[in-house]
């Protein structure tokens, strides 16, 4: 792709284009390009060797940011271990809740799903179909006269039910919400508080679900959700597409939160632990 004749100068524009195209953002790309120029100031700066040196600098800079955040989701002694999924609309929370439930069920855990998205059309039904597919009980409440049930009430019920049934893991799905909607962010905080009342320390994992196609707004999303409820882990979905999810680098740098896993498809098994080297390889590939 970035062709290089034997003694041609390294095509810095092409390197920069690759990085910008991956949604790394100007704030991340400009300093990396400065480092590349600095290392190319020393030999070798041309041809194949120069190109390799440039890409090595890029790889190292990216790993520097991402490697410290590589930290797979592990359940602790807390029982049930409560995982709450949160994020903006359409990012893949419900599907990821099902994937996590599938993973833990296969590991021999008893898993309960909580259908705390009581707002969106057929959100509860969507999780119920998943629950039936993967063999996990789904806790839900019927809609009230005014609309959906209270999401905090469903969350509370889910934790209580999980405790009563001796569940090992609870995956609590919440409604998508734009981080700029303060009333919805308050609702999310309330769900967290209520879950903590049902089980002190819960939710043990507050998982931000990010769509890999997101551009620079992903950083704002991470900031706001982190400020609101304290994000303990990030999942990036839809990495089976062409988007590279490069905004993750800025997020890792700024928030220093664990990046747990990546979503690579629409089936229950399409969830892989985040590996910084593989992520960087795919980004630069």
């Amino acid at each position: 792709l970035i062709g290089r004749a034997p003694e041609a100068p390294v095509d810095l524009a092409a390197v920069e284009a690759l990085l910008l195209g991956a949604d790394l953002g100007v704030g991340v790309v400009d300093p990396i390009m400065a480092r590349v120029r600095a290392t190319l100031g020393e030999a070798p700066a041309r041809g194949e060797a120069g190109y390799r040196r440039a890409m090595e600098t890029v790889r190292a800079a990216l790993l520097e940011r991402l490697a410290p955040c590589q930290s797979p989701l592990e359940i602790t002694a807390a029982k049930p271990y409560v995982i709450m999924l949160l994020g903006v609309n359409g990012s893949g929370k419900t599907t990821t809740a099902a994937k996590l439930a599938e993973r833990f069920r296969r590991a021999g855990c008893r898993v309960v799903l909580g259908a705390a998205d009581t707002f969106r059309a057929a959100a509860v039904e969507q999780l119920q179909v998943w629950g039936a597919r993967i063999g996990a009980e789904v806790i839900a409440q019927p809609p009230s006269r005014q609309g959906g049930a209270d999401p905090a009430a469903v969350a509370f019920d889910t934790v209580q039910a999980g405790v009563a049934r001796g569940a090992d893991v609870i995956c609590l799905d919440t409604a998508g919400r734009l981080h700029t909607k303060s009333n919805l962010m308050e609702e999310l905080k309330k769900i967290v508080r209520v879950v903590g009342k049902a089980l002190p320390g819960a939710p043990h994992e507050r998982l931000l679900v990010l769509d890999a196609t997101v551009g620079q707004n992903g950083l704002a999303q991470a900031r706001y959700f982190h400020e609101a409820v304290g994000v303990t882990g990030v999942v990036v979905t839809k990495l089976d597409g062409t988007a590279k999810g490069g905004i993750l680098v800025a997020i890792a740098h700024e928030l220093n939160v664990p990046i747990r896993c990546i979503g690579v498809g629409e089936s229950a098994e399409d969830l892989v632990d985040f590996n910084a080297e593989q992520f960087v390889e795919a980004l630069l590939g």
């Binding site: 609309n89 059309a121 039904e125 734009l178 551009g215 707004n217």
Partner: protein, 292 residues
């Protein structure tokens, strides 16, 4: 109405009186960051900067009075030119039913937009049929049926079928039989690189020959917007764009980028989760959103 960030470099430039080459470069550097942070595609940003630079340099030669404001006016003009015309209202076919097909990546807002469009058309006195043509996503049919019920709009759906093509054909036939004026087809989200699923889209298109194929794009989409739009356009002849979730703080640079690189017209924008939240596209508002 320029925002504070842009105003602050106007002020910086103004204080200098005339504009030097260095000052022009600094302004362009700031503009580059603004555009890329707004998710404008890097090629679109680069060519916009080139055009602004060549016009700004000429300005410097001609006159330096209010050059800073002139540069910003140039930027505004270039953005407006790229944004193109305002919303073109939907024209119904003289041979009903008019078939509108919604396509796009997973989670972009197609099903919700289908509901919003049905509500709008019904308000305009049109008879509408919604076709739930997503055979894969759990409870996708239920989702559209729930929206249809709330609007008292018919939905053709069959949660047990895998055959999206047959369902779409049945929807158009039903519309013809009942003199329904518009059929809105909600398709499953898919990756543009998924050959079998793009094949399904082409098969639906060939079977029902939609009058409109609208690509539904998430307002927060980044640099892959242009490649994605081109791929969908190449597969099924997209006739319009809908950008959703613009009620958030995403700048929506993907919209400018797709417009600049494909020329596709923008139909509506989604500004909320409720079915009322569908608005006509205003190019000047999107332009100032990007510069904000």
């Amino acid at each position: 109405q320029l925002t504070t960030r842009v105003q602050s470099w106007v002020d910086r430039l103004r204080r200098g009186g005339t504009l030097s080459a260095e000052e022009i470069d600094a302004a362009l550097g700031q503009l580059r960051t603004t555009l890329l942070d707004a998710d404008v595609h890097q090629e679109v940003a680069a060519s916009l900067l080139e055009r602004v630079k060549s016009r700004a340099v000429q300005l410097r030669v001609q006159e330096s009075l209010n050059a800073a404001d002139r540069i910003l006016a140039l930027v505004g003009q270039e953005l407006a030119a790229l944004m193109g015309d305002k919303h073109r209202p939907l024209r119904l076919s003289s041979e009903p039913p008019t078939v509108i097909m919604l396509v796009g990546l997973q989670g972009s807002g197609k099903t919700t937009t289908a509901g919003k469009l049905a509500r709008l058309l019904k308000q305009q006195g049109r008879r509408v049929l919604l076709a739930a043509a997503d055979p894969r996503r759990p409870a996708a049919t239920e989702q559209l049926q729930t929206l249809g019920r709330s609007l008292l709009v018919d939905v053709l759906g069959d949660a047990s079928t895998q055959d999206a093509v047959a369902l779409c054909r049945a929807a158009v036939e039903r519309a013809r039989a009942r003199a329904t004026e518009v059929v809105i087809i909600d398709t499953a989200g898919r990756l543009q690189i998924d050959a079998p699923l793009m094949g399904e889209l082409k098969a639906i298109h060939a079977a029902v020959k939609p009058h409109e194929v609208w690509l539904v794009v998430d307002g927060m989409m980044g640099q892959e917007a242009v490649a994605t739009a081109r791929a969908f356009a190449g597969a099924v002849g997209v006739t319009g764009l809908v950008m959703t979730k613009l009620d958030g703080d995403a700048k929506g640079g993907a919209l400018l980028s797709i417009r600049a690189m494909t020329g596709l017209p923008v139909t509506y924008i989604g500004t909320g989760e409720k079915l009322e939240a569908l608005e006509p596209f205003h190019p000047d508002r999107m332009a100032s959103r990007i510069l904000g």
